[in-house]
């Protein structure tokens, strides 16, 4: 690209503006709290509990997505049928639903007026204001990310390897566990981490279903409302730190995959 072109400088300028727009707030957020403040915050049992609850519930959501989503992802990767596009659209649906609406929709079926709510109530399962509710909501928003990544992973395993395995005497199930799943392993992991990252960052859906017990984003909101910006920043710092670690692992995995082939 010729550096003497006006257009080239327009591109560079826009790049600089966007980088500044994204990075400056992040840097300010991460540098604003003082070190003692950060240390004090991370020793606060309330903060620790909410951070832990965020990790725990997001982990559960990722695990559920993995268990339920893997067979569906494989099915979508390996078959063609009428209406497949429709199913894929339904899977993507949670991505575009406004976050508070997700909470409202989940509560709508969990209430006493709905047969599902009645069954849950009979089983003694509570959604509103419970860890179960949080996990349900986080699974709802995280599931599409897992399924899409896992599907792509399964698609990248040549069907011929499965065919050879079948011809050598392996059943469909054996073939899946010995050949397909190990070879799609990295994509499955990427999907699980994306699901986890999406779940950790969710706020709007959770705040509707369960203000208490308090996950980290809800606590940040509460501290902001009750005590102001300065007191919410340290908690935000630790949550962002957690997210950046996940993001970094994700980048390493996808980068390595591109290079490693």
């Amino acid at each position: 690209m010729n550096t003497r072109e006006l257009f080239f400088w327009v591109m560079l300028a826009s790049a600089a503006v966007i980088m500044a727009f994204i990075l400056l707030p992040m840097i300010q957020l991460l540098t604003a709290p003082s070190l003692p403040m950060l240390q004090k915050t991370i020793r606060d049992p309330d903060v620790l509990r909410s951070l832990w609850l965020s990790i725990y519930t997001s982990g559960c959501a990722a695990l559920i997505s993995f268990t339920l989503g893997t067979p569906l992802a494989y099915l979508l990767a390996r078959t063609r049928f009428r209406g497949k596009g429709l199913i894929e659209s339904v899977i993507d649906l949670p991505i575009v639903i406004p976050h508070p609406v997700v909470g409202i929709a989940i509560l709508s079926v969990a209430g006493r007026n709905h047969w599902i709510g009645q069954i849950l109530s009979a089983l003694g399962i509570r959604i509103m204001g419970s860890v179960t509710g949080i996990v349900t909501v986080l699974t709802f928003v995280g599931l599409p990310f897992y399924i899409n990544a896992a599907k792509e992973g399964f698609e990248s395993v040549p069907v011929r390897l499965e065919k050879v395995s079948r011809s050598l005497g392996a059943s469909m199930l054996s073939t899946f566990f010995r050949i397909t799943f190990p070879l799609a392993g990295r994509s499955v992991l990427v999907g699980a981490i994306m699901c986890l990252a999406r779940a950790v960052s969710e706020f709007g859906a959770v705040v509707i279903v369960a203000y208490h017990p308090m996950i980290a984003p809800v606590m940040i909101y509460e501290r902001f409302e009750a005590f102001g910006l300065k007191y919410s920043q340290p908690v935000a710092f630790w949550l962002v730190f957690l997210c950046l670690v996940l993001f970094f692992v994700l980048r390493m995995l996808t980068l390595y995959r591109k290079k490693g082939g």
Binding site: L161, K163, V164, S165, S167, L168, S174, R178
Partner: protein
């Protein structure tokens, strides 16, 4: 051994129509045909890897049409070898034995034998990504044969290899087939592979079988226009037979024999058509004057189209002849060919 009865397969991209075929035990059988003819689909149908629409597949007398692939006692080897990239060579070879009841001594015996026959000893702990084409192929063969299949299906096993090694590997394949006593069914689009490997073959085109039979027979006596073209008889014409002559559009060609039908086809290989600037004074019975219509590069040779009346004859000429005879578009030349090089069908 293997019998296909009126087999039909319908996939999105390929289809097979009413394919019937019989391969006997311990035979080396070849399926030939152009790209997209459905050769691989036919192999996969035999292996149970694609759904069969209609017809039956019998292996060793047993109807396997509705059995899953793992219960058919076949092995398949693909053109790209499809080794499991996350296993070592040894694990690749031994993979099939996980699913077969074979006692420990037997396992060791088979392993030792195949490693020796295929010269794999030094590769056992390497991963497929580090192997060369020929090595990959030998591993794939060992993996396919360790389960003692009744039939081994080979999908263009030679086409991915450096031509310099093909000769060697053809020999290895023949030896392996003879020693293992397994029926080999191989797909290829390369005629020379078929010639040097198989006893019997069939030519498949557009999902249907065109001709089945002895390999030399197919080469020398094609029974359809498509097969004639496929085995290199580029000059193929619909003719009327009159006594010992074949007539195309005003040209009378001496065939040296009478034919039992009034009409049919004749075919002549381009390499049997000689081009000269003057009528050749030779034993060749057919000599015609014509005009060069086009000259095309075919690698080492040029393919010249000569127009005689309204009929085009294709002849192969060398690069030096091109210069020596000054063969260019529009030039008047003479073509000649022997009556014995004409094939009638």
């Amino acid at each position: 051994m293997i019998q296909l009865e009126h087999l039909s397969v319908d996939l999105d991209e390929f289809h097979l129509r009413d394919v019937s075929l019989s391969v006997s035990e311990n035979e080396f059988f070849v399926l030939m045909g152009p790209t997209g003819a459905g050769k691989t689909v036919l192999l996969e149908a035999v292996a149970g890897l694609v759904p069969v629409q209609d017809g039956r597949i019998l292996i060793g007398g047993r109807d396997v049409t509705h059995l899953p692939p793992e219960k058919r006692g076949i092995s398949i080897m693909y053109q790209d070898y499809a080794l499991f990239p996350h296993f070592t060579v040894l694990d690749n070879i031994m993979y099939g034995l996980h699913f077969h009841r074979v006692d420990k001594d037997q396992r060791q015996e088979r392993k030792k034998q195949l490693i020796e026959q295929l010269n794999l000893g030094h590769l056992l702990h390497r991963y497929p990504a580090t192997l060369s084409g020929g090595e990959l192929q030998r591993v794939a063969l060992a993996r396919a044969l360790i389960v003692r299949p009744t039939v081994l299906l080979l999908d263009e096993p030679l086409s991915a290899l450096d031509p310099a090694f093909r000769e060697e590997i053809r020999d290895a394949l023949v030896t392996l087939q003879e020693r293992s006593g397994v029926t080999f069914i191989m797909v290829t689009h390369d005629f020379s592979d078929a010639l040097s490997l198989a006893q019997r073959a069939c030519v498949i085109n557009n999902g249907s079988i065109e001709q089945t039979g002895d390999i030399a027979d197919i080469f020398q006596r094609p029974t359809s226009r498509f097969v004639a073209d496929f085995v290199g008889m580029k000059n193929c014409y619909q003719v009327n037979f009159r006594d010992t002559k074949a007539v195309i559009d005003g040209i009378e060609i001496e065939t040296g024999r009478t034919w039992w039908r009034a009409y049919g086809y004749i075919a002549i290989r381009p390499e049997d058509v000689v081009i000269s600037k003057k009528p050749l004074d030779s034993s060749m019975r057919n000599v015609f004057e014509g005009r060069i219509r086009s000259v095309r590069d075919k690698g080492f040779f040029y393919e010249a189209e000569v127009l005689v009346w309204n009929t085009v004859f294709v002849s192969l000429i060398t690069k030096s002849a091109l210069f020596d005879l000054d063969i260019r578009e529009g030039v008047r030349v003479w073509i000649a060919f022997k009556a014995t090089s004409i094939h009638l069908f």
